[in-house]
């Protein structure tokens, strides 16, 4: 099982890095972008500040769909807290801030599946009348399963955390060790690798598009007004 997990993990990272590299290459080789934004461009500091708020608070979604915004915001916050909480299995020594985030991370672990279920329900309800991305639903389902196995690991079948950490440290150091003898741990890790392999590109690109949109919005009035 350990060897299979290692193979799956390295394959997932290879797929992730390959996709990221291909995207970076495509962007680097693409014809030059338009030189500027039509209209009066806002000051860079103002544009970056507005974009940062926009990204962190998902303000564009709030403008369009407030109920979904609330669910997505909870979901994204939970994912961030969960990711931070899991750093204790990947870093040695564990940074103080990562240790401090254990309690909120745990709470996020319970909230995450609830938010995911609500988002999936909202998407399912719209299936007949709106756009339905099977790719997105699959990703959400993988996250839901990941959250479910995580909760099960915490409460139903706790694994040997020392062995789990030792395995993960070995994985990142290319010094493979034995995996904990827990099918639930294997399933949880495999799901995490699957999510990594399928991680949508918008995680990296949407913030840049939002930054550009902020510049564009700020400059719109300046196109025909002096």
């Amino acid at each position: 099982v350990g060897a299979l997990l290692l193979l799956a993990g390295y394959a997932a990272y290879a797929a992730f890095l390959g996709r990221a590299g291909a995207l970076a290459l495509a962007l680097a080789r693409a014809p030059a972008d338009p030189g500027g934004t039509a209209g009066r461009a806002p000051s860079p500091a103002r544009a970056y500040a507005a974009a940062l708020l926009d990204i962190l608070l998902l303000l564009r979604l709030l403008r369009t769909n407030a109920p979904l915004w609330a669910l997505e915001w909870v979901f994204h916050l939970c994912v961030a807290l969960e990711a931070a909480r899991h750093l204790r299995y990947l870093l040695e020594p564990v940074p103080a801030w990562a240790a401090a985030l254990q309690a909120p991370g745990l709470a996020a672990g319970y909230l995450l599946p609830a938010a995911l279920l609500a988002i999936l329900a909202a998407k399912w309800r719209r299936r007949g009348s709106g756009y339905y991305s099977s790719e997105n639903v699959l990703l959400l389902a993988l996250l839901l399963l990941g959250a479910g196995t995580g909760i099960a690991l915490k409460h139903l079948a706790p694994t040997d955390l020392v062995a789990a950490k030792s395995f993960m440290l070995g994985f990142f150091a290319f010094r493979p060790g034995a995996a904990p003898a827990s099918p639930l741990f294997a399933a949880h890790l495999l799901l995490a690798f699957l999510v990594l392999a399928r991680l949508p590109a918008h995680v990296a690109t949407a913030p840049f598009a939002i930054l550009d949109a902020n510049r564009r919005d700020a400059a719109l009035r300046g196109i025909l007004h002096e």
Binding site: E135, H202, A206, A213
Partner: protein
């Protein structure tokens, strides 16, 4: 104020980034006018982006590299081409996009890419370059009919002036009450203005740009700019939102330098003239008016307040708003040259505007774009709901 012309044959880095930035959430469908009348998610904005991503993966990705460009499924390309040309390019999807994708620009860029691949444009759009090459306009109409049928005899056009008026092809040939209103308002203001002779006032390039056919653009722009420059023009005024959009956003890049004059929409000129007392309404109207924001004027270049200022400047007017107005306005169906191919969609979208205007008990529907004017009038033919349609400058000219 300038944007560089995207290199021909290939999407820019920003466009590629935007394609990847789409989260496929589908929020835009609730704002898409084509969805309003077709209810077909297969041609929706996220579906188009998904299809184009597959096209790119088939040609540029690992699959394409291993199996060659032929791996890009022909059917997929054809489906994508139809979807991207069925769009009115109104940009409402981009306005509602949580990732802020600039779809009013992205769709024309993808059309350009389809032209490059030999799949676009579709239907009568393919005849636009030849029509413009031979007659100077996309309607294949003679230059002699460009001004003569509608230009008011009472209005004097100067040989040279700091202010110039560009009528535009759609106004001149398809929405004559509108351009007649423009000329009357300009004349009433007392500000001297010039115009190019009808054979020199050629297409602004927008129909070619929007259908992805960029070959002739530089030549058209150079010709027009030279004409206005020779007349000492400092401000070029136009009422067509599409013309104004390409003039303000793309002409500098196509011209290769900053324009020797500034671009203004006629509603800006009229609002200023009303404010300064150059234009004074001689009578009131006492009517309920509902104003439709043209997509390429509101979302395109940010002209939202001035048309309303003009309407509020007419005594007795009660101004009503569509549910979707300003930056959120809903396309009337005339946009993106889709009306030339997907006529029924355009008519159905036009009727949605008529329905709402009638439901709000407006006395008149005020339009501010020649394509909207022509298409919404057409949408009312044989329709059980009717409303009086008037162009903004036509209305203003009525009360001067």
């Amino acid at each position: 104020m300038s944007e560089r012309e995207p290199s021909p044959g290939g999407l820019t880095a920003r466009e590629l980034l935007e394609l990847d930035a789409c989260t496929q959430c589908g929020e835009c469908l609730r704002h898409c006018p084509v969805q309003d009348v077709t209810g077909n998610p297969a041609i929706s904005p996220p579906a188009k982006i998904r299809m184009f991503r597959e096209v790119l993966a088939g040609t540029r990705g690992l699959r394409g590299r291993l199996f060659g460009a032929g791996a890009a499924d022909r059917r997929l390309l054809e489906d994508f081409t139809k979807a991207v040309y069925e769009c009115t390019t109104c940009g409402a999807c981009g306005r509602s996009c949580p990732a802020g994708i600039f779809t009013q620009r992205l769709w024309p860029s993808l059309r350009r890419e389809m032209v490059r691949r030999g799949l676009g444009p579709i239907g009568p759009q393919a005849g636009l370059p030849e029509a413009i090459r031979s007659t100077g306009n996309p309607y294949l109409k003679p230059a002699a009919e460009r001004y003569a049928p509608w230009f008011p005899e009472s209005v004097v056009v100067a040989e040279r002036a700091e202010l110039a008026y560009y009528a535009g092809c759609t106004g001149a040939y398809e929405a004559r009450p509108m351009v007649r209103g423009d000329a009357l308002v300009l004349g009433a203001s007392g500000v001297p203005f010039t115009m190019l002779p009808p054979e020199e006032e050629v297409c602004c390039g927008f129909p070619l740009f929007i259908t992805g056919q960029h070959d002739m653009l530089r030549g058209l722009v150079a010709r027009l700019v030279a004409g206005y420059r020779a007349r000492g023009v400092r401000t070029l005024v136009c009422s067509c939102p599409c013309c104004v959009n390409i003039m303000a956003r793309d002409w500098p890049a196509l011209y290769g330098a900053e324009l020797p004059f500034r671009i203004r929409h006629i509603s800006q000129f009229a609002a200023d003239a009303l404010a300064s007392g150059k234009l004074v309404p001689k009578r009131g109207l006492g009517e309920r008016l509902i104003y439709h924001d043209p997509c390429y004027l509101s979302r395109g270049v940010g002209i939202i307040e001035e048309p309303r200022a003009v309407l509020r400047g007419i005594p007795g007017v009660t101004l009503l708003e569509f549910d979707r107005h300003g930056l959120e306005s809903r396309c009337c169906g005339a946009g993106g040259a889709a009306r030339k191919v997907f006529h029924e969609n355009a008519i159905a979208m036009g009727r949605l505007a008529v329905d709402e205007a009638v439901a709000k008990r407006a006395d008149r529907l005020i339009l501010n774009c020649p394509a909207c004017y022509a298409k919404v009038n057409e949408a009312m033919v044989g329709y059980d709901r009717q409303i009086r349609i008037t162009d903004l400058m036509e209305l203003l000219a009525e009360v001067l």
